[in-house]
Amino acid sequence: MELFINKISKSIQLLISISMVILISALCFSIKNYLDYKIVAFILLLTVSVAAAIFDIIPVFVAAILSAIIWDYFFIPPNFTLQVGSTEDSILLLMYFVIALINAALTYKIRQIEKIARAKEEKANTIKLYDTLINTLSHELRTPIATIIGATDNLQSNNHNLTAENKEDLVSEISKATFRLNQQVENLLSMSRLESGFLRPKKDWCDIIEVIYDVVKRIEENNVKQKIVINVNPDIPVFNLDKAMLEQIVYNLVNNAIQYTKDHNEINIIAHNYGGLLELIIEDNGKGFPVEEINNVFNKFYRLKNTKAGGTGLGLSIVKGFTEALGGTVHLENLKTGGAKFTVSIPSQVSHVKSIKNE
């Protein structure tokens, strides 16, 4: 109700509250002979209270003043004059007026308090989100940096105590840390591109098979243990989409699956064309997502509760952002057999191999 009313402009609110008072007054006037004018006062007061419950302060004040005048003019004897016959009626009119105004003012005050409480709550939520962001970011960026600094220090100042194997291990840790750092920076850059609102897909013809195999090759270079199975009909047409964005979508989804499954698990990548709709499925046979968290996983900086996997919580929100920038949708569900299934659907122009003459 509140939200709905907030969207209505002040002048329309004024118009509605005036009409309400006039309409009710007219109704009362038409059955005037059966109603005591004091009862009419209560009916009008009720009308003003209703207006106070839903409208802003100014329309309510206007309704209060207007209804007082109408009551006086049409109902308090003598009728059709603003004069008031008896002292009793004068007091009644004054009281009517004061009650109507108090009514309006009180409702307004309650509304203000509510508003302040809501603003406080919003601010608290923003601060909480900001804290989470700073915490995850500083953790995700500082951990690899700490590794690099520690390992290089060790190599520089402790060199003669280290075995060849130690040194090799340290160098390999530096390499892993820089890779992780690089990945986080890439994610942050993608996110800021998305947030800037200037992200425009650069559409060109892409071979989805090539996109998938390239991504898998990049991921497999990091010695992943899970088995990645690709299942795409070789006759799938080429799609007119932004290849870089598509690559990032597939990469983040597969990478996510790698991080949240165990070594023995399997990841399936499937692509279909449904008459100009590219459907990409990335599913695994891991544990799936906690049901109550499924709706949150695409939120920026959201991390699963009780998770050990590293990450900034940006990967899936980038997937969602890029998919939507391409006019598509992404959907997550748990498989009945266990495991998670992401489905990305993006509408696209297609071009079939057969339609191009191979001269």
Binding site: T178, N182, K202, D204, W205, C206, D207, I209, E210, Y213, D214, K217, I230, V238, N240, K243, A244, E247, S351, V353, I356, N358, E359
Partner: protein, 229 residues
């Protein structure tokens, strides 16, 4: 023994140090410049065999340095930059860069690109055939054989493969390939390229999905690699 002399134009001291160590330990001679002005002067006073150029220089845009160099400098120029947008890369290739590598890069990859670029200058025309793996392309007869057996290619597939193979190690942009193989009217018909590259891979690669010869440079073009260094 490599004796090639390489000039590094980059404002980042750490990158220059890394390149110096990497290149000198691979027997290249290294010269350095920390900005565009000194880079241009050094190149002119003592022309190197190759230039490694950063695009984000403090005193001048790297693309403009590249254009100035290309007015007279014919040896290979390799761009090494953090700028990774497709537009920037294509622009650099159009401005005459032989190759482009985005920072952060693997030193192994850098060395492979340097070797390939330096080789470019050596095996110039006149060679009537190109050999890669088990394949031999006969440029005069316009045929290709694998282990002495003819492989059937359509005329377009042959033109595409020959063009790629003649420019071994070099990135050829989508537009360039479309213009050279199909003609100037086709430079926006990139779906042709996707389809023909896929066909060609099926005929020459061991696994078309994991190509070794025709390598994709995402968003830019393709690169032909005859053997893995």
């Amino acid at each position: 023994m490599n004796k090639a002399e390489i000039l590094i134009i980059d404002d980042e001291v750490q990158i220059r140090k890394l390149l110096e160590i990497t290149l000198e330990s691979n027997q290249y001679t290294v010269n350095q410049a920390e900005n565009a002005k000194n880079g241009l002067i050094t190149a002119e006073n003592h022309p190197p065999d190759m230039i490694i150029l950063d695009l984000g220089l403090p005193d001048e845009d790297g693309q403009s340095v590249l254009q100035q160099l290309r007015k007279w400098f014919t040896n290979p120029i390799l761009i090494l930059s953090v700028k990774n947008s497709e537009e920037e890369i294509i622009k650099a290739l159009d401005n005459g860069a032989n190759d482009y590598l985005v920072k952060p890069f693997r030193t192994g990859e850098l060395l492979a690109r340097i070797r390939s670029a330096l080789r470019d200058g050596i095996n110039e025309e006149g060679n009537p055939s190109i050999t890669f793996g088990d394949f031999v392309i006969d440029l005069e007869a316009r045929t290709i054989k694998k282990n002495n057996e003819f492989i059937k290619l359509t005329a377009t597939e042959y033109r595409l493969l020959a063009l790629l193979a003649k420019n071994e190690g070099k990135v050829l942009t989508h537009q360039y390939l479309l213009r050279e193989v199909w003609g100037p009217g086709y430079i926006n018909q990139s779906q042709y390229l996707r389809v023909f590259i896929a066909q060609l891979r099926k005929k020459i690669e061991t696994d078309a999905n994991r190509p070794n010869y025709i390598v994709t440079e995402s968003g830019i073009g393709y690169r032909f690699i005859s053997d893995k260094d």
